[in-house]
Structure formats: C-alpha cells, structure tokens
C-alpha cells in the first residue's frame, strides 16, 4: 500500500516535470508541426515587418490583396513597431529562428549573411527581366555581397532633408537658405538671437543625429570614396577628414544650433517644436515629408521649404550628395524551398512592382522603382518639392545601414557624447577605430 502511494507520488512529480519541459518546447514543436502536417497544398508563410502605423497602410493593403489573390497561401504577419522590431530580429538572428520572409536593412543582412540565414534573389531576378529592370539604379547596392543579391528594396529615399520654416527665416533677416557653410552658421546664430531653436532634433535613441545629419555632414568632408576604403579597411576613422567632420558637428553643438534637450527627447517631440514655430529647422529623413503633409498645421506646411546641408570648406565630398539609398529590403529565409519559396518570391514581387510603386508614390512615398505614369495631383506640395530637390542629387552611404551593428552603436553613442561635450573628436575617432580594428 505504502509502495503504491509512493509510486503515485513519483508519477505525479515526473508528470509535472515533463509538462514543464514541454511548455518550454511548446513553440518549437508546434512550428515543426506546421511544416509537416499542414493540410495538403495550404502553404503557411510567416512575414516579419514593422509597417503597423499610418505610413505602413499601403504595405498592409498590398498584403491583404495578396491574400485574396492567393487563397491557398496562409500568410501570417508578425508585425511590431520599428524599434522593438530591430531588437526582435537581432534576437531571432542570434538563435537562427527568423520568419520565412522579413524586412531587413543592410546592416541586419551583414549580420545574417555569414550565418547563412538568407536566400539569394539572383535566379529569380534573372528570370523576370521586367521586374529586375524596373528598379532604380544602385537600389540593390546595400543588399549585395560578392555579386549575390540578398534583398529586394522596399523604398529608395534620402535620409537627410532639412525642413526649414521660410517665414521664421525671413523674420530673422535671412532671405534664402544659406548656400555656404559660413552663411549656414551665420543663419544659425541669427535664428538663435531671435529666440528660436535653430535646429530641433530628438536624439534619445541616439540614431537620429548620426543617421540623418552626421552621415551627410561626414560625407561632405570625407567623400564617398573614403567610406568605401574604410569598409575595405584601407582607410581609418582617425583620418583627418573624418575628425574634421566630428569637429564640425561639435562646433554646431557648441554654438547652440540644437535644442538643449536633444538627447532626452524623441523625433516626435522635436517635430512638435517645429510645428509650434519654436524651432526654425528640423533635419529628418524623407519619411518626414509624409508626416508633415499629414500632421503639420496648414501655415507650417505652406511655410516649409526643403534644403540640404551646404558645402563645407575644404571638404572632399560632393556637395550635391545626400545620405540615402534603399535602406530596407525584403529578404527570405534560406530554409525555404519549392512551393514555399515560389510563394515567397511571388509575394515580394507584389510589393515591389510597378503597381505597388505607383500606389506608394501617390501616397507621398518614395518607391524603389521607376514609376512611369502616376497622378501628380495626388501628391502633396511638399512631395513635389522633394522629388524636385532630389532630381540632381546623388546618394551617399547611410552609416547605420552599411556598417555593422557594433560599429554603428559605437559611432552613434559617441556622437551623443560629443554633442554634450563628453568626448573630444580625436578621442572619439580613436575609439571608433579601435572597434573597427577588432573586426576582421
């Protein structure tokens, strides 16, 4: 009797342990079942993306349309906002459990490619010349390694645009947007004397200043060739050109060009300063065209002009270039084969072709494809201005998209430190180079 009692106890305990262990494995085993036992022909595709806000409505509509056209495909969206998406993807990348399809930038792909997680598009692109030739020149650059294409661009835009308030400029006695660096710094001082914040930015997450301002500023000094040399390891971050660009940013901060709380507010709060006429300029990516067209008060929309950083004295870079490019791409998991892979490619085609591009441009977006015919009247005036501004501009590299995540973090965190005077340009350049040296 006693023995049986004990046995029951042991049985219960073992059951408990097993059930706990099974809970731990729950996710894995159910995912495995989907692959094997799914009812015949029904293909399940998971897609990870961050287009959940108003700007992403076009993408979601396109996915919905794809669902309707392909009822045999069960499309599962794993969508989270942008910032957590990047964290999530790094974590999934570390454990090798990426979704079937996902939105990835160049830096993420650099992380995944050596691990063999992403499939190549070369074959699919070669088979469909119309699709391939529809893209803008250089739009695949950031997703290509050794001639292999790992991602299809989702947009092509400049990450650096200066949005300035013409009215406030006039009140400060500045007739037009400055064309030289000296005029630019003069204008900043004049705006400051008028009690305005010259440039409002929100750098809490430490990406904005580095991405939308410093990338272009650095290119003015170093030129794009230097950047390529750094990537190959033949140039160094301690080179005088790069240090000069750090110094220029430091000088801007010292003369009070930015809002004093730049490092503790985010981009939305900075935009609000601009909307309230407390700030004369904001520096932001092309995506802010959509935001301003939608959210800004009418008088601000009318007063807003677009410009880019002027040339710097002694700079080696092309003053007509801005940091920009495709930025994000759609990539697929290298584990996909057969029908699943075909379905994935079909989906990617549906959100990167002509038709999708037209919808995007008519909603004030910046598609990666040459859109032949579109209804210009649907565009906001700011969008028209933007395409005009970009007409004669070239794209220079975006730091956070072309460099590896570790390097990006050290540069951008360092810039935050530089803005508050916590580090000198020389020290920072040495620190960045030391991280560069630890990589192969």
């Amino acid at each position: 009797m006693l023995m049986r009692h004990r046995k029951m106890q042991m049985l219960l305990i073992i059951l408990l342990i097993v059930s706990i262990a099974l809970i731990g494995c729950g996710k894995n085993s159910s995912a495995g079942n989907d692959d094997g036992k799914a009812p015949s022909d029904k293909i399940t595709l998971t897609i990870g993306h961050f287009d959940i806000d108003d700007n992403g409505a076009i993408f979601r509509d396109a996915l919905e349309k794809f669902r309707k056209e392909n009822p045999e495909i069960n499309l599962v969206e794993e969508a989270v906002p942008h910032d957590p998406y990047r964290v999530k993807m790094t974590t999934l990348g570390a454990s090798g459990e990426l979704p079937d399809l996902f939105v990835a930038n160049g830096s993420m792909l650099l992380d995944y490619i050596p691990k063999g997680y992403v499939g190549t598009f070369n074959e699919a692109l070669d088979q469909d010349a119309e699709w391939k030739n529809g893209f803008l020149p250089n739009s695949f650059d950031e997703f290509t390694t050794d001639g292999k294409i790992y991602g299809v661009p989702t947009a092509m835009f400049s990450v650096h645009v200066i949005y300035y308030n013409k009215e406030l400029f006039k009140q400060a006695g500045i007739a037009s947007f400055p064309q030289t660096w000296e005029e630019f710094t003069d204008a900043i001082l004049k705006l400051k004397d008028n009690g305005l914040t010259p440039i409002a930015m929100g750098n809490k997450s430490n990406v904005p200043v580095g991405s939308v301002l410093f990338g272009t500023l650095a290119d003015r000094y170093t030129g794009t060739a230097w950047f390529k040399a750094v990537k190959e390891g033949t140039a160094k971050f301690t080179d005088p050109e790069f240090v000069d660009s750090l110094k220029a940013l430091q000088k801007l901060a010292e003369m009070g060009a930015f809002n004093p709380d730049i490092n503790s507010i985010d981009g939305d709060m900075a935009r609000t300063l601009y909307f309230n006429k407390q700030a004369a300029m904001i520096v932001d990516g092309a995506w802010a065209v959509t935001n301003i067209s939608r959210d800004a008060p009418e008088d601000i929309q009318k007063a807003t002009g677009l410009a880019i950083l002027p040339a710097v004295p002694g700079g080696k870079g092309d003053p007509m270039s801005v940091a920009g490019g495709s930025g994000w791409s759609l990539a697929f998991n290298s584990e996909l084969t057969g029908a699943k892979k075909d379905a994935a490619i079909a989906l990617i085609k549906s959100v990167s072709g002509q038709e999708y591009g037209r919808t995007k441009i008519e909603n004030n977006g910046q598609p990666p494809v040459k859109v032949e015919e579109y209804d210009q009247s649907k565009l906001s005036p700011l969008s028209v201005d933007y395409f005009e501004l970009m007409n004669d501009k070239k794209f220079s590299p975006i730091y956070d998209i072309q460099l590896s995540p570790a390097l990006v973090e050290v540069i951008y965190k360092g810039l935050q430190d530089l803005l508050i005077g916590g580090v000198t340009p020389e020290e920072l350049s040495k620190k960045i180079q030391s991280v560069r040296d630890t990589m192969k």
Binding site: V87, G93, D261, S264, I265, P405, E409, V410, D417, G422
Partner: protein
C-alpha cells in the same frame, strides 16, 4: 534511532515535493546561466571556440569598468537613500506622535508595487526639460530650467532618485516588522531610564535590528547592482555613456550591437563581480555582529 527515522520520513517526501520547484529553477536560472557561459567562450556566431579571449577583452574594456563605477556609485546612493531613509522613517513610526499610521504606511509602500518601467516613465516626465514638474517649480522661483537627464555631470544623480524613491517602502516594511518584534519591555525600560528618541533609536533599536539590517543591506546591494529597467527607460545609458550600468551595457552589446557572445561575457562578469561584493559585504557584517 527513532529520532533519525522520524527525520527521514519527513525529509524524503519534502525533497520530492521540492523537485518541481528545483526543476523550474534549473530551467529559468541555471540553464540560461550555463548557456551564457557557453556563448561567452565562443566567437560571434558561435562557430569557433575561443576560450577566455572574451574575458580578457572584458578586463581591458574601459566602458565596462566605467559602468561598474556607475553601478557602485548608484549602490552607495541606494544604500544611504533606501536603507538609511527607510530606517529613519521606521523609527519615527515607533514614536507615539504619529497620527494616521495606516495612511502613511500605504503612501510609503505604494511605489514598491509600481513596475520599474512605469516609475521610469513617470520620472522622465518629471525631469522633462520643457514640461516637467521640476523645471516648472524652478520657473516659479525664476530659476533657469535644468537639463536633468542631458547633463553628463549629474545625470547619474538624477537617475538614482527614482531608484531610491521606489524602494524606500520595501526596506521600511522590513524594518517596521523588525522593530515591532523588539519586546515592549526593553523599550519601556529604556524610556524609564530617560532615553530620548535619538538615544532609544541609536542604542537600543539599532543594535537589536542588526540581523534585519544585514538582510536589508544585502537585498539593496544586489538589487542595485543589477538595476536595468529604470535606466533603460529614462536614458538608455546616455547621454553617451554617462549613465551606463552593467546590465544596460550587456543589453546594448547583445541586442543592439548584435554581439551576443560578448554580451554574455559581460553578464557573467557582472555575476562574478556581484558575488564578490556580496561575499565581502556579508563577511564584514557577519564579522561585526560576532563581537
């Protein structure tokens, strides 16, 4: 003989009932720890065994030691602020002057039940440069607004305040429980002998609370050494690295810089440092109470 048999009868089932909890502990604590150690001796991507190379890198990492320094400063503040204030408040509760005891107790304990993330957001609003309560108050006195979270010279002090504010209540409750355990006779005897409030607190209550105090100190030190949520929400270690703490540094390395094995190395380093500090502390406290 019969005694030991009795013990066996009790211990056997007791241990067996503990098995589920132990296995849970193994899954949630021991296993991740072992996996971290495993990650930390491999290169990024986990393709090659590199031995202790990461640890050597860590020992030379200026940023890591900077965050250790920040952690230690925060710990000193927390010990003084959390444990010190809590003891003072608890000893006020032992006097008979206090009215509405229950209300005060709830008010002091309430922040403890808030999620750290909520506290962080709350205080980053209080600290806000343009619309924060603190700068509004300063404005009333015609003082210049202060960049509470932007100035590297005092950002660490700014972030330590919410940390102290949140956990005073916890130690307060611990002390209050301890003080209520002190027998009434001792306190009454000291009062009859003419001890003032200060003398009663310093020479009667404090020595009698030594054990409770050492528990509170250990809790406070370990809690502050692994602080993450508050810092993550308020500054993310910034501006630059001025409010970086060990846990945030490990997080940044593993999840934003995609250096998982180095991130694991940092957390193991953190574990070792915490263990050493706690060991020294408990020796020190234990040694004193033996005298």
């Amino acid at each position: 003989m019969s005694n030991s048999r009795l013990f066996k009868l009790r211990a056997g089932p007791a241990f067996r009932y503990l098995v589920p909890i132990f296995s849970m502990y193994a899954f949630t604590v021991l296993l991740p720890l072992l996996i971290s150690i495993y990650y930390s001796v491999f290169n990024e991507g986990g393709t090659k065994f590199i031995g202790l190379q990461n640890y050597i890198l860590l020992a030379k990492d200026n940023d890591f030691w900077f965050s250790v320094k920040n952690n230690i400063i925060l710990t000193i503040f927390s010990v003084l602020g959390q444990v010190g204030f809590a003891f003072l408040i608890a000893s006020f509760f032992m006097t008979k002057l206090l009215k509405l005891e229950g209300l005060h107790r709830i008010a002091i304990f309430l922040p403890v039940v808030l999620a750290p993330v909520v506290t962080g957001y709350l205080w980053s609003l209080i600290y806000n440069y343009r619309m924060g309560v603190l700068n509004w108050l300063l404005n009333l006195f015609n003082a210049d607004p202060v960049l509470w979270l932007d100035n590297p010279n005092y950002v660490l002090y700014s972030v330590s305040v919410p940390l102290i504010w949140q956990y005073i209540g916890l130690y307060f409750i611990i002390f209050l429980a301890g003080m209520q355990n002190i027998s009434k006779e001792v306190l009454e005897a000291s009062e009859i002998d003419g001890a003032t409030w200060f003398k009663k607190t310093a020479y009667v209550i404090f020595p009698l609370l030594k054990n409770v105090m050492s528990v509170a100190l250990i809790l406070c030190i370990t809690g502050t050494l692994k602080v993450f949520d508050h810092i993550y929400v308020m500054t993310g270690g910034g501006p630059g690295r001025s409010s970086m703490v060990m846990a945030q540094y490990a997080y940044n390395n593993a999840f934003t810089m995609s250096r998982l094995s180095y991130g694991s190395t940092i957390s193991i380093g953190m574990l070792i440092l915490c263990a050493i500090i706690v060991l020294i502390m408990s020796r020190w406290i234990g040694g004193e109470s033996e005298k």
